[in-house]
């Protein structure tokens, strides 16, 4: 699957006409900037898809490529070079933003492999629509989450009427601790998955991908809860 994505189509350089690999930002022969290549975000950095990345090396490569690609370097270049510099740098920035953040990186890889939530916006004439994330409540959290939401409502109401309920506050503090701990547990599990995926064969990877989809769902739900608690407690 990944090989298909990375399959390079030979194209001719616009400047020197020598054929080169499609997934290159610069012509290997004349060094001129090329239109945005077709590969994935990993290939921008000349990387195989991986979930554990050396962030320091990634940043260095980002800086090195920025120096060469940025529109500031093409302010007085040909019009088409300017356009490609803009498109290439946007691709570089999008890729870096996605890959430097482990969660975004995981989501991206899953989407690349067809495990992600497909996002297609259904539009009617009058109003546009983009799918809002509707995370399912993990079964084991159903009861506690319900109770927490009730308490949050109560707290909001109390805040509005100016009354403070120390008991409620203490119980919210407890809930916050508990859900934060759960969130940390998810992150630990995710890290285990990353390593397993990076080192696994095709079958092992499939299994990890499934796990990660579930973990990401759970994580989204938990982090929303923690955010709500923080908001209500006026963090």
């Amino acid at each position: 699957m990944l090989n298909v994505l990375n399959d390079a189509v030979p194209v001719a350089c616009w400047s020197c006409s020598i054929g080169h690999n499609d997934s290159t930002l610069f012509c290997p022969h004349c060094s001129k900037i090329q239109p945005p290549p077709g590969g994935d975000y990993f290939s921008v950095f000349n990387l195989e898809p991986r979930l554990n990345l050396d962030l320091k090396a990634l940043e260095q490569e980002f800086h090195r490529l920025s120096r060469k690609l940025h529109p500031d370097r093409f302010a007085r270049a040909l019009e088409n070079e300017k356009q490609w510099s803009l498109a290439d740098t946007a691709l570089l920035n999008d890729a870096y933003r996605t890959l430097k953040d482990p969660l975004r990186r995981t989501e991206y890889l899953l989407k690349l492999l067809g495990n992600g939530v497909t996002e297609e916006h259904n539009h009617t004439d009058s109003a546009g629509g983009a799918s809002k994330d509707t995370s399912r409540v993990p079964a084991d959290l159903l009861e506690e989450a319900f109770e927490l939401n009730m308490q949050l409502e109560e707290m909001r109401f109390a805040r509005k009427s100016g009354a403070e309920d120390p008991e409620l506050l203490a119980s919210l503090e407890d809930a916050k601790k508990k859900f934060t701990a759960l969130l940390e547990a998810v992150d630990r599990d995710l890290r285990v998955c990353w390593t397993a995926w990076d080192g696994g064969d095709a079958a092992a990877r499939q299994a990890q991908q499934k796990k990660m989809v579930a973990l990401l769902d759970r994580r989204r739900y938990l982090s929303n809860l923690v955010r709500d608690v923080n908001e209500v407690m006026g963090a």
Binding site: H123, D125, G128, K132
Partner: protein, 651 residues
């Protein structure tokens, strides 16, 4: 130089400046009055009685007109840039902007670009800014003696798409190709970064005349990577002035029984006094108002610094929120900020410095904010550095690169009026997002998209950027078309959109209708020279000057044979003079100023020995027969007689 210089311009709410890279260092270019700051004030001169063209005055002269003819003068127009009629209602209560009242039928369009009435004429905010830019362009041209056509212009980091576009439009109207819009705090960081430690995290706190920005940057190996930015495009020194003015007007009404508000000239006198008092309170413990009222009374009042600081606290406090949000977005704590840079005239106020100190725990960590560079000039200096980076002309800037971010999230309106974010705030620009759209009804051939900018959940609470229609979708069953729309925020922070229908492979047509702002045609019609072409354009002016210079030297050569010194020249020397003379005479017939200047120099060279002979003769006559060498010994090193044929200096 083939391409000419690129200048850096700080187009400020209160003052504007132009700077450039002189070798390896940025330098501010003064105006004809010798001052670096050009007040961002524009005045329409009285219309000539003979029906001549109306003229516009910019800067200090315009500011002086503010007291005499306030109805012909406008300032702080940056507050209106890129904003619709509906959005500026608050500003109208605080600033004496006079909007043109169009006799148009029907309700006014809330998104319309406002027009400002100056005397008999009306102008859009970008046109007013274009006059300021043109003044700066002229100052630079006067300084260089050559045309300036390319510039980097700074904008508040928190400016949205429409405000940026309006600034670019103003540049175009002024005859400038805007190579880049740079965020003001980032520009300041560039100016400081020239000779500073190569690594670290810095915060730039920029409180100007009308805008507040905070940016957090990471510096590494010459790369200035903005981590986050936040701000308020309507918060600045102006707000402090308005507080003082409101108090003075209230007291004058209460104590003297005079309501000054109907008298714009008198209000301007109060405003001037308020600004002076504010400035004084940065260094003194007390300032005083002493204003003559139209009825001859005087309004006197003392303002201790303590009272002033109490008054302005709510204004200053409004800068704290954006700072905290910027820190949170960058994912760092105040203690992780290595250095703080202060920018903008308002950061001279001691209470502002105290607030910054508290926010970033500076004193507690044995640190001080950077104020080495003049806070009024540092943004323009940074713009010049960025201009140097773009021109690629300086060794210092060769290794520098600025990676800035978009200050506001970009989203599209989804079902139910909510916002689906497609590019998050603080994403490094250029940034892009690709979205796929489809149809909801069989045979549907167009899809409407509404793009907004902002952080709120509902589209109606965000800033509407543009609406467009994807047209020409081939009729298919609902949900079958797959239209790929690419949103790209460029290095200026401005949105570009392209679309393609993927199933049929046709390019979907898009008509991007910006919600606010001028159309291309409108901008075109407002280009200043098309309105006011009374002045010859710069190339023509240069040509005329070069021809004058040529005529002067040719006349002198014409008279040369009458001089005794001429006989001392060899035949060869005389021939050389004749050849150079004919060459210049020929070049003068052509329209190339550069070639004429070159020919003048050749003739100048050919006549050098003759000039020396003449000078020696003149000097020996004057000092009674001594040789040139002996004479110069007598006079020390001061001898500096001009070349008798030297071209006059053209200013």
């Amino acid at each position: 130089m083939a391409e000419g210089r690129v200048v850096g311009i700080d187009l400020g709410t209160t003052n504007s400046l132009v700077a450039y890279m002189e070798g390896e260092a940025p330098v501010v270019i003064p105006g004809a009055d010798g001052l670096n700051l050009v007040p961002s004030v524009v005045a329409l001169d009285p219309i000539p009685a003979d029906g001549g063209r109306p003229t516009i005055t910019v800067g200090n002269t315009a500011r002086r007109a503010l007291m005499e003819t306030p109805e012909r003068v406008v300032y702080s127009v940056k507050r209106l840039m890129g904003r619709g009629l509906e959005e500026i209602q608050e500003e109208l209560k605080l600033f004496p902007f006079r909007l043109a009242e169009d006799a148009q039928s029907g309700p006014p369009d809330p998104n319309e670009v406002p027009r400002i009435q100056l005397g008999e004429m009306r102008f859009t905010p970008p046109e007013i800014s274009a006059y300021v830019l043109r003044q700066l362009k002229r100052n630079a041209e006067r300084y260089f003696g050559s045309a300036v056509t390319q510039a980097v212009i700074t904008v508040p980091a928190y400016f949205n798409d429409a405000q940026r576009q309006a600034t670019k439009d103003a540049g175009r109207m002024a005859g400038l190709e805007v190579l880049r819009l740079v965020n003001e705090p980032t520009a300041a960081a560039l100016a400081y970064g020239l000779d500073r430690a190569k690594e670290g995290t810095i915060a730039v706190y920029d409180l100007g005349g009308g805008t507040f920005d905070i940016s957090i940057l990471k510096l590494r190996d010459g790369i200035f990577e903005v981590q986050s930015t936040n701000g308020d495009t309507h918060l600045g020194g102006d707000d402090i002035d308005n507080l003082l003015i409101a108090i003075a007007l209230g007291e004058i009404f209460a104590e003297n029984g005079v309501d000054l508000r109907p008298y714009p000239g008198a209000v301007q006198a109060v405003r001037k006094a308020a600004i002076e008092a504010k400035i004084k309170l940065s260094t003194e413990e007390e300032a005083r108002f002493d204003i003559e009222l139209p009825n001859g009374d005087r309004y006197k009042r003392e303002i201790p610094r303590e009272v002033f600081e109490m008054l302005i606290e709510p204004v200053l406090e409004r800068t704290a929120g954006p700072c905290k949000r910027a820190l949170a977005d960058a994912g760092i704590t105040p203690a992780e900020i290595d250095e703080v840079v202060l920018v903008g005239g308002s950061t001279r106020i001691p209470a502002v410095r105290q607030l910054v100190d508290d926010l970033f725990q500076l004193q507690a960590r044995g640190k001080k904010p950077h104020t080495e560079l003049n806070p009024d000039e540092v943004v323009a200096l940074g713009a010049a550095v960025q201009a140097g980076i773009l021109a690629g002309a300086s060794k210092t800037t060769e290794e520098m690169l600025l990676l800035d971010v978009t200050p506001l999230s970009l989203g599209i309106e989804a079902l139910g009026g909510t916002v689906a974010r497609i590019i998050q705030r603080n994403s490094t620009i250029p940034a892009s997002a690709t979205e796929h759209f489809t149809t909801g009804v069989d045979g549907q051939t167009n899809v409407a998209i509404h793009v907004v900018q902002g952080e709120r959940e509902l589209a109606s609470d965000c800033r509407s950027l543009a609406r467009f229609d994807l047209k020409g979708i081939p009729p298919m069953s609902a949900g079958l078309p797959r239209i790929e729309v690419k949103f790209l925020i460029d290095a200026d922070g401005i949105l570009n959109v392209t679309a393609r229908e993927q199933r049929s492979g046709t390019e979907a047509q898009i008509e991007v209708k910006a919600t606010y702002g001028l159309t291309d045609e409108q901008v075109e019609s407002m280009i200043l020279d098309s309105f006011d072409n009374a002045e010859a354009d710069f190339a023509k002016r240069l040509l005329i000057e070069a021809r004058n210079e040529a005529a002067t030297i040719l006349a002198a050569v014409e008279r040369a044979p009458q001089s005794a010194a001429w006989t001392q020249l060899t035949a060869d020397e005389k021939t050389k003079v004749a050849v150079a003379r004919d060459y210049l005479a020929a070049k003068m017939q052509e329209d190339d100023a550069e070639a004429i200047r070159e020919a003048v120099q050749i003739l100048d060279l050919a006549t050098r020995r003759f000039a020396e002979l003449m000078m020696e003769a003149a000097v020996s006559t004057a000092i009674g027969g001594k040789t040139m060498a002996a004479a110069s010994e007598d006079m020390g090193d001061e001898i500096a007689a001009p070349h008798p044929m030297a071209a006059a200096e053209f200013k």
